[in-house]
């Protein structure tokens, strides 16, 4: 049942993954336009820009993570079957990451080439994204559950997610520096806390939907 839910959501997410991925690449392309095509500057700041683009791309799918299921009554059906809201939320986080994290990590390859990152930095970026994207997915599902059915849910979700994602951005961009394993560990700690806490916060929000 839960596996089916994850499979269905992940398939749906993968089908729509083109949107955040394209957005990610467009945002990465805009950066040289904004600061000039100086290869040295791009190579030194490009990794951070890709993290920022990933953060912005994570905002796009939020509106369709929970709202369709809430409108169609799927969430009520799941609740009537006695499945805990926390379980549903955890399944949604896992499915959202499957449809969002790996495509983004693949899109980071051409993104890094566009900004002229060297191989070592790209490796550290991919490691950071592998650790950080589950937390981005967890934040996305939590905020999606909080903003279901509200007026201007999309803009509201962006306003809510971005301040909470500041530590991910700081540690993720910090982990791009060579020889700094500490930042990666702190990123992992933050991501673990966010990912582990999200099902409970999102589950409580899903339960509040039925009041």
């Amino acid at each position: 049942m839960i596996a089916g839910l994850i499979r269905r959501d992940a398939r749906r997410g993968l089908r729509a993954a083109g949107l955040p991925v394209a957005f990610f690449l467009v945002a990465a392309t805009l950066f040289p336009f904004a600061v000039g095509p100086d290869a040295r500057l791009l190579a030194s700041a490009g990794g951070g820009m890709l993290w920022l683009a990933a953060l912005l791309a994570a905002l796009l799918p939020i509106e369709r993570l929970v709202a369709p299921d809430a409108d169609a009554g799927v969430l009520d059906q799941l609740a009537m079957r006695g499945i805990a809201d926390e379980t549903v939320a955890a399944a949604k986080v896992a499915a959202h990451w499957l449809g969002f994290g790996p495509p983004l990590m693949i899109a980071a390859l051409p993104g890094a080439a566009l900004l002229g990152l060297d191989g070592a930095t790209l490796g550290r970026l991919e490691a950071g994204l592998a650790i950080g994207t589950p937390a981005l997915a967890a934040l996305g599902v939590t905020v999606a559950a909080l903003t279901v059915g509200l007026r201007g849910a999309g803009a509201l979700a962006g306003l809510v997610v971005l301040p909470l994602a500041v530590p991910l951005l700081i540690f993720g961009a910090g982990a791009l520096m060579p020889g700094d394993g500490q930042a990666l560990k702190l990123l992992a700690a933050t991501a673990l806390l966010l990912t582990a806490g999200a099902p409970f916060a999102a589950g409580a929000a899903l339960r509040a939907l039925r009041e």
Binding site: L146, L159, P163, P167, I170, A204
Partner: protein, 239 residues
């Protein structure tokens, strides 16, 4: 605590308390500010600019205490479903954001002559700015979800998530700062002289009392609005 679950009982206490706290706070804050502006000596290093401390420090304290209050009220809402908790949290958000903004603005005004810049990406400044953005997000979320079922719980969940995240944000920003060159700012080593310090407790207590009075006032407003809406709906149903 549940003794005040009855809005009528709460109001009978809140109504006189608003005036007492508000006036006492206003007098204390005014005395502290006047004393800080006229009676204390200027600082040997910072000159007259040190006087902004009498506003800046209480604003910083209340900006942080405001979110502490929201977090406490959120727990009361989520665990006990206390009927006044959601109203208290919503009433705290706007004054908290205003005091966080006062803290940022006064710090910026102080920083221009002292550091030579309006804004410095210092750890404490930056985490206060993120806290201000969290307030904005909370206000937007609470307003948007107020008229929906379970809306109070939505705001409470975000209040609690924000409270858990605040220390992480704070330490991540501090850690991020240490990556860059250190800024030799602040009162390193030297404590504040008592001759300058003494009005500070006055303004701190004064502004805190004012803050409490404002929250009580806003809670009464929110309760009155809810009552008004219920009455209008009842009359609409009867007609």
């Amino acid at each position: 605590m549940h003794a005040f679950a009855n809005p009528t009982r709460f109001l009978s206490l809140a109504r006189p308390l608003t005036g007492w706290l508000g006036w006492a706070g206003a007098v204390l804050a005014l005395v502290g500010i006047i004393a800080g502006l006229t009676l204390t000596p200027r600082d040997y290093l910072q000159g007259e600019t040190v006087r902004i401390m009498y506003i800046h420090v209480p604003a910083a304290w209340l900006g942080m205490a405001g979110w502490g209050g929201i977090a406490a009220a959120s727990v009361a809402e989520l665990v006990w479903r206390h009927p006044l908790a959601a109203i208290a949290a919503r009433a705290t958000a706007v004054p908290g954001a205003v005091f966080a903004a006062i803290c940022l603005a006064s710090g910026s005004i102080w920083g221009r002559p002292t550091w030579g810049t309006w804004w410095e990406w210092d750890g404490r400044l930056t985490s206060m700015l993120v806290l201000f953005f969290l307030y904005i997000a909370y206000i937007a979320l609470a307003d948007a979800s107020a008229d929906r079922g379970g809306g109070a719980r939505v705001a409470a969940i975000f209040g609690l998530v924000g409270a858990i995240n605040l220390p992480i944000i704070h330490f991540s920003v501090l850690w991020w700062r240490t990556l860059h060159q250190g800024q030799s700012i602040g009162f390193t080593g030297s404590t504040i002289a008592p001759s300058i310090l003494w009005p500070l407790p006055l303004t701190t207590i004064g502004f805190t009392l004012l803050f409490t009075a404002i929250i009580l006032m806003r809670m009464r407003m929110l309760l009155a609005n809810a009552k008004l809406e219920a009455r209008q709906r009842r009359m609409g149903g009867a007609a």
